[in-house]
């Protein structure tokens, strides 16, 4: 797959090319969400006459991914910090969270958040969309935590010593020195997790969220034409992951201080 990054003029700096790519790809994503009905409507039956449903499903899938992805990165940072914390209860809490979320199926987690939590306490009753976001965010957060923790541990000890020797506080050492370097190391696995999240968001289907897979399934049951319906569904997923990979490539490039990516 060709990278969008390489189409910019060679005289642009790495930062400029990265920004241009992120901007273009993000615009592309917005355009897809806004205008996807147009090409879908031109497709033959049963896609064309169900273009609205496919478009709505695509939007919901992207919303699920963005919301759960953002919360998941924040959760991942918190859990990673917990796991390397000097305070033992924080370490245990983070380890327990990661152990449970990585050790149980996402499908069970989705069902648990939607069906079981309201029985535990009525205040935990959520809409289908919210419940799916919560379960997906908690799940991807645990995987992100391991990626970020690996990044934190990979920052050389000499960096911390240099920061200490300059009199930087623990906070500034983390914000200015450790985190930017750890995040850069964690980026490829984080991206991997977010792309997986986009596909895993299809499990929201099971609690009745009308996301892309659910939309495809509904069209299939009314049209009885599984082949074109699921090819269209898969193609839309492929389009979305491709755009996401372009954005993440650009982010990775932005953090490539040492020019290792060429």
């Amino acid at each position: 797959m060709n990278r969008l990054l390489s189409i910019w003029p060679a005289r642009w700096t790495r930062q400029q090319r990265s920004s241009a790519t992120m901007l273009t790809a993000s615009l592309g994503l917005v355009l897809i969400l806004w205008l996807i009905t147009v090409p879908l409507a031109m497709a033959p039956e049963p896609i064309g006459n169900n273009a609205q449903l496919f478009a709505e499903g695509t939007r919901v899938t992207v919303q699920l991914t963005l919301v759960a992805g953002l919360i998941g990165v924040a959760l991942g940072v918190l859990a990673a910090l917990g796991k390397v914390s000097r305070i033992a209860p924080l370490r245990w809490l983070a380890a327990f969270y990661i152990w449970v979320m990585r050790g149980t199926p996402l499908l069970v987690q989705v069902l648990f958040v939607y069906f079981a939590l309201p029985e535990v306490h009525p205040l935990l009753r959520m809409s289908e969309f919210t419940a799916a976001c919560v379960a997906l965010a908690l799940n991807v957060g645990a995987y992100n935590a391991e990626a970020i923790r690996a990044g934190l541990l990979a920052v050389p000890k000499g960096q911390l010593e240099a920061a200490k020797a300059l009199g930087l506080s623990r906070w500034h050492t983390f914000v200015d020195i450790t985190f930017p370097q750890a995040f850069k190391i964690a980026l490829p696995p984080l991206v991997n997790n977010i792309v997986a999240l986009l596909k895993d968001s299809s499990l929201a289907f099971t609690i009745g969220v009308v996301e892309l897979t659910n939309a495809g399934s509904q069209v299939k049951s009314t049209s009885f034409q599984a082949v074109p319906v699921f090819i269209a569904t898969a193609l839309i997923y492929l389009l979305l992951t491709t755009v996401m990979t372009q954005i993440s490539d650009a982010v990775e490039r932005r953090f490539d201080f040492e020019g290792k990516l060429g």
């Binding site: 010593e161 200490k164 300059l166 200015d176």
Partner: protein, 256 residues
């Protein structure tokens, strides 16, 4: 004695006082009851075989290593675990590392300007102005916008010196500053250090550069098996009448 440490300075209170300090790494007794003092304006070179404890002694002065017993007082402040006190102390004690330890994600300019902004509260403009002055002084103004990986080892180490100087430290610690450098780059770093010594900077230098010790140091400390085995001006330390067997053996190994 050399010109940059007038006797009047040496007679005042010491800038750094090390008193009865011990350090163990597991069963290994690295420093044994070490006591010494360092005065403002003095350039001290610390010599010793690898594993003798010389780097450990240096790294205890800004608490990159803890000491097990004894007292270290830097500029009136006892070195301890009190975080606030430690940050203040470290801000006044600059350090230059063998592996440079520049921040790879920051430009050369930001490497130098970061700590003055964060620790001394300088504005970005003021910190960058100071950083540019210091980069000029170490001969690297043309490289301010680059990232560390784009520089040679010698250039990186000169940035590291500028970074330490940007905090206006009272003393600079050098932990084998030229040991990781290709031979042709050693001189550019030593030249910067000589310039600093001539300007009156208080320096403690762990090194194997005997020429530097001979030429620039006011005082040579020789650490052997965790103890200060010699404390003398370089002329005397390197002199023909040196009668300490272990020092003669050490010098024989280094010089050949």
């Amino acid at each position: 004695m050399s010109a940059h440490a007038p006797a009047a300075v040496l007679s005042g209170p010491p800038l750094i006082a090390v008193d009865g300090v011990n350090k163990r790494f597991g069963p290994h007794h690295v420093l044994k009851d070490v006591s010494t003092q360092f005065h403002a304006g003095q350039v001290t070179v610390i010599l010793g075989a690898s594993g003798s404890g010389k780097s450990t002694l240096l790294r205890m002065l800004n608490r990159l290593e803890t000491h097990d017993s004894g007292r270290i007082v830097v500029d009136g402040t006892e070195v301890s675990d009190d975080a606030r006190q430690l940050e203040r102390l470290r801000a006044d004690v600059g350090m230059v590392f063998q592996q440079f330890n520049l921040f790879p994600h920051l430009t050369v300019l930001d490497n130098v300007a970061l700590a003055p902004r964060r620790v001394r509260g300088l504005s970005r403009a003021d910190a960058e102005a100071r950083a540019r002055e210091l980069l000029e002084r170490v001969g690297l103004s043309a490289h301010a916008h680059k990232h560390p990986f784009q520089l040679s080892g010698g250039q990186q180490q000169r940035v590291a010196i500028a970074r330490a100087l940007a905090m206006k430290p009272k003393v600079l610690l050098f932990d084998e500053p030229t040991s990781a450098l290709d031979p042709e780059m050693v001189k550019e770093v030593l030249d910067v250090m000589k310039g600093l010594a001539a300007s009156g900077m208080t320096m403690l230098v762990v090194t194997h550069e005997m020429g530097f010790a001979r030429e620039v140091a006011d005082r040579v400390l020789f650490i052997d098996q965790g103890r200060i085995a010699a404390d003398a001006p370089p002329a005397q330390f390197f002199g023909a009448q040196q009668d300490n067997e272990r020092i003669r053996a050490f010098l024989g190994q280094i010089l050949h």
